[in-house]
Every structure is written in C-alpha cells, then in structure tokens.
Amino acid sequence: MKKLFTGALTALALAVTGALATGPASADDFSPAIVFDMGGKFDKSFNEAAYNGAERFKSESGVTYREFEVTNPSQREQAMRNMARRGATVIIAMGFAQAAAVETVAKEFPDIKFTLIDMVVDLPNVQSVIFKEHEGSFLVGMAAALASKTGKVGFIGGMDIPLIRKFALGYVEGAKYVNADIEVYQNMTGTTPSAWNDPTKGGELARSQFDRGADVVYAAAGGTGVGVYQAAKDAGKLAIGVDSNQNYMHPGTMLTSMVKRVDVAVYEAFMTAKNGTWQGGFKILGLAEDGVGFALDKYNRDLVSADMEMKIEAARKDIISGKVEVTDYMAQ
C-alpha cells in the first residue's frame, strides 16, 4: 500500500515537473491569449467587439486562444503574468486600465508580444493600438444634431477619464458642426470602474436629459449604456451606441452606433503574430484607416435619411482629407 502511494506521488511529481518544463513556449508553437477588462466580454460594447475579433481569428485559423475576464482591478497583472508563464506567445490586453499591468509584465517577459488596446506603453515588445474616437464621435454627433427636433442632444459617459472626454468632445464638435446653436448635455456616470456597469444610473441620467428636452442621447459607457438605450426606448427617444454596432438592440430607437473596430485590431494582432509580421510600436486607427465609423444597417436604415447620410459622408471625406479638423481631447 505504502509502495503504491509513493509510486503515485513520484508519478505526480514527474507530471508536475513535466508540465513545468513544457510551460514556456518554444518559438514554433503559437498560443494567443486575451485579457478582457471590467465590463466583461459580453458587455455588448468594447469587450464584446474584442471577443468577436478573437472568435473570428479562432474560426479562420483553427487556433484556440486563452482568455481571462478581469472582475477586480488587482487581477489584471496576475492574469497577464499567468498567461505569460503558461506559454502565451501573444497577449492582448483590453482597455486603458491595463496599461500599468502590461508595462510591468512586458518588462518581465521581453520575448512575449503584447498588444494593448486603447492606451500606449512604449516598450519594444508592446504594440499599442489607439483609435481616433473623436473622429467617429464627430460623425455620430452630426447624426444626432441632424435627427434632433428639439435642438438639444445628450452625452452619457461611463467613468470620468480623459478617453471618455475624448468621445464627448468629438461628439459636441460634430453636433455644433451641423447646428452651431445646439445644446449638448453631458453626464458622467461615476469616477470608479463600477461606472461601466451601472445601467440603473445610466437610465436615470438619460431620463434626466430627456426631461430637459434632449431627444437623442449618445452613451459611451460600456454596460451602463444598456440602461441608457432602454430608457431611450421607453421614452420614445433616440440613442446612439458605441464601440460595437449596437443598432440591433432596439431597432427603431437606435439611431446609429459609433463603431470602433476593436474586433479588427484584435483579429489582426493575432493574425500578424501568427504569420510573424507582428510589429511593436504604435498603431493609430481613425476614419482614414476605417478604424472608427458610424454604423448603418437594416436596423437603423429607416432612421437615417438619405440627406443625413450624404452630409455625414461628406464630413467623413473632409476629415480624412484634413479639411475639417476634430479636436483630440487627449492631445490638448
């Protein structure tokens, strides 16, 4: 009996050492990983776009990826380090809040590729992908102003951070581009990460803007936006989605969505890493690169008139050519 036990123990020890030995990946086996942020991968917005990109990569390449959903700020670094230790070759970190964790872990594992979305970390093995959200927000701001009958539109941000102010500023400029006298109400949900996940408060903020006369509201607030869109639907007002194309959520009251092609960025990071063409450094995706834009599909076709579409399309070209300049809040 005792012998059997010792035997089992030895086998176990061998297995563990074996596992450890094969832990760090050799160059030729490719193992992608992604760390989602607090909103969770089904936030119908930013993280979900990344999830869709990763899923597309999986179905096209047949390579499965590891994933982690951060539910607590302290988990970010831990999750990333675990992925690195277990042999991930490329790790995608979603969201501005992961920058500090990426910086620490990327220094510890200089051979592993990191792609950080929405924030910049200046290290040779980090690829930072940022978007010109202000340009996309400018276009939906125009859409809001063109659709508004009251001359008042609203903006609801999630957590009060510079990135969200960047959305807000582009939106305001777009609305004013159409109608210089337009009034834009702005609300932030909160100052902590829980502001990404508070639909009750989002709905209440939206109602407060409707009460003041706004009839189109744009939410850049992750999961909080769900409450905003619901409130718009209940009140018969229009809402604008963000990051993912959210038009399908409430056909008839979703005017459009400011799409940020996070899915493309994630897909390309995985694909290029697989093909060996992945490069560190900065990638800035704006209207010209089709990194941002406004969504038009069967769910909102009836809400966007040909005239509106034409004007927005013209502005899009002007922004690309540099004729119209949109202020970047974070570059100020």
Partner: protein
C-alpha cells in the same frame, strides 16, 4: 416660473423612481433591526432577488412570476441569515457580509452557466416587465397649470412597485406601532428577556421579522432588475443596500424619518444627474466629483449636526440566549 415648477416636478419624479428600492430596503432593515437582528445583507438579498427576478421573467415572460421568484430567493437568504444568527447565535455582521459575498459571486456564475452571456442575463422582453401605469385623466389634465403637471408627471406614470412601496410605508408604520405584532417586535428588539418572560417565543418573533425583511428586499431587487432595467448585471445594486442602511440609521429606525431620509438621498441623486455640467450663474460649473459626493457629504453633515444621537434598538445585534 412655470419652467421652474416643471423642473422641480421632474426632479421629484426622478426622486420617486430612485427612492423606491431605497425605501423598500431600508424598511426591510427596519423590521430586522427592530427585532434585534443587524442585517447588512440587504445588498445581497436585493442582488439575489434581482438575479432571480430577471431569470424567471426571462424564461416565463411574466413579470409577476419574476416578482415571486425575487421574493422567494430573498426570503430564502433571509432565512439562512436567521438560521445562523437566531438559531445558532452566530455573529450577525459576519453572516450578513457572508451572504453579500455569496450572492455577488453566485449570481454572475449562474448567469454564465444558464445564459452563456458572461456575468449577466439576456435582456427580457417588454411583456415581462413592470411597465409605467398611466392613471386616468393624466393626459387630459396635463395642461392644467401646476396641479395638472403634478398629477400627470409626478403622480401618474410610475410602475406598480413604486405605488406599492409608497403604500407599504403607512402600513409598516401601522404594523410597528399599532398592532400586537408590532409591539412584540419592538419589545423583542429592546428587551428580549421581557418578551420571553411573557411567554412569547423570541426566536419565532425574530424569524417572522426576517421573513418580512426578505419580502421587502425581494420586491426592491425585482424593481431594479425588471422595472427599472431589463436585465441582471453583476453588482447592479451598486451599494444601494448600504445606502438603505445609512438611511435607516439616519431615520433613527423610525418609519417617517426613514422615509424622509430615503427621499433626501434620492433627491440628492436626482440633483446630481441634473447639475452635472450645468453652468450655475455666479458659481460656474460644479465638478462631477463634487456632485457625486453630494449624498455622502449631506449624510455626514446631517449626521454630525442635526440628527443628534442615533440610538439603535437596545438588543440589536445581540443574540438572545435563554438563561440556563
């Protein structure tokens, strides 16, 4: 002038919407604490009820079955709390906190397992929600100055849970102060020995109080999930249970002051939504952070200056052990 009245009426309207779960939860806490059980598990019970209500409403397409499920889960959690604290004389704060943590984790996990949508439920259909009720003549009276506005905007157009919560307040006050049950409830929270001497079961009274507490928390959680919103999201109570406890302490464990405290907190929240980014003449734009701290600053100020001494029920938090 007319515009100011409209603004004020709309503020009060928002206050009613926001205060409903607070009122329900703080009265739930009142029943528990008046019977001598400290319940910091209000948050967890609401969250559990929100999850149950959203799930059941989603599957059955019935708001009422959702409400029933919300109440059942909340009462179930209240019974666990009572079992730990009354039957086994456990630490009430520890048990309440444990329930909060349990539900905060269990809800998202079950949501993931059942609906495969991350830590939330899918959105429920419109028929499975509690919709606003438009009282008769609301539309016709809309144009009557002041009175019509108050009637059509403030009084009409809420969902049934808002009316239920407001109706519950005088009923609860009557129960606590005018019925035999209420007398025993208050006695068991002040002096359980006396109640026991009179031949009334302390354990039985406390269990009954916790059932009431569970029912009220269940309604509050249901309101959050399927009346105000259309889904369950992780941590969607966002500290409301603790705010309700604060309102209860602020209201000195008495029905009317507690109701007013709930109104005050809710009004501060409504004010916050409307003052953000507004240029006030002479002051300028108040920063978001300052406005968001408003309810807490108000609480601290009022607690320090005006409330005087908040004296909890004497036996609150103390397990009752019969003399051997």
């Amino acid at each position: 002038m007319g515009e100011n009245i409209t603004f004020f009426v709309l503020m009060l309207d928002a206050m009613l919407r926001v205060s409903t779960p607070l009122i329900l939860a703080s009265f739930a806490g009142m029943f528990a604490e008046r019977s001598g059980i400290v319940d910091i598990g209000l948050e967890g019970k609401m969250l559990g009820a929100a999850f149950a209500a959203a799930s059941v409403a989603l599957v059955t397409d019935s708001a009422w079955l959702g409400l029933l499920a919300g109440i059942s889960v909340s009462v179930g959690l209240a019974m666990i709390h009572a079992f730990a604290c009354v039957t086994h004389n456990g630490n009430q704060v520890v048990s309440g906190m444990a329930l909060n943590i349990l539900v905060a984790g269990l809800g998202p996990v079950l949501a993931l397992a059942w609906f495969n949508q991350g830590s939330q439920t899918p959105m429920i259909a419109d028929i499975a929600r509690f919709k606003p009720i438009h009282l008769p003549f609301a539309d016709k009276l809309r144009d009557v100055p002041v009175v019509g506005e108050v009637y059509s905007e403030l009084i009409s157009g809420h969902n049934i849970i808002v009316y239920l919560a407001l109706g519950m307040v005088p009923l609860a006050a009557w129960f606590i102060y005018r019925t035999r049950f209420g007398l025993r409830l208050r006695a068991v929270g002040e002096n359980p020995e006396a109640v026991d001497t009179a031949g009334i079961s302390v354990t039985g009274m406390r269990y009954r109080a916790m059932i009431v507490c569970g029912i009220l928390c269940g309604v509050a959680g249901t309101y959050l999930a399927i009346a105000m919103n259309t889904l369950f999201i992780r941590d969607m109570t966002a500290g409301m249970g603790y705010l309700a406890l604060a309102a209860l302490i602020f209201g000195k464990w008495k029905p009317l002051p507690t109701l007013l405290a709930c109104f005050l907190f809710a009004f501060a929240q409504a004010l916050e939504a409307r003052l953000q980014g507004v240029d006030i003449p002479g002051i300028g734009i108040i920063p978001v952070q300052a406005i968001q701290a408003l309810p807490y600053i108000l609480t601290v100020l009022l607690l320090a200056g005006f409330v005087g001494k908040a004296i909890p029920p004497k036996a609150s938090g103390v397990p009752y052990v019969k003399e051997k």
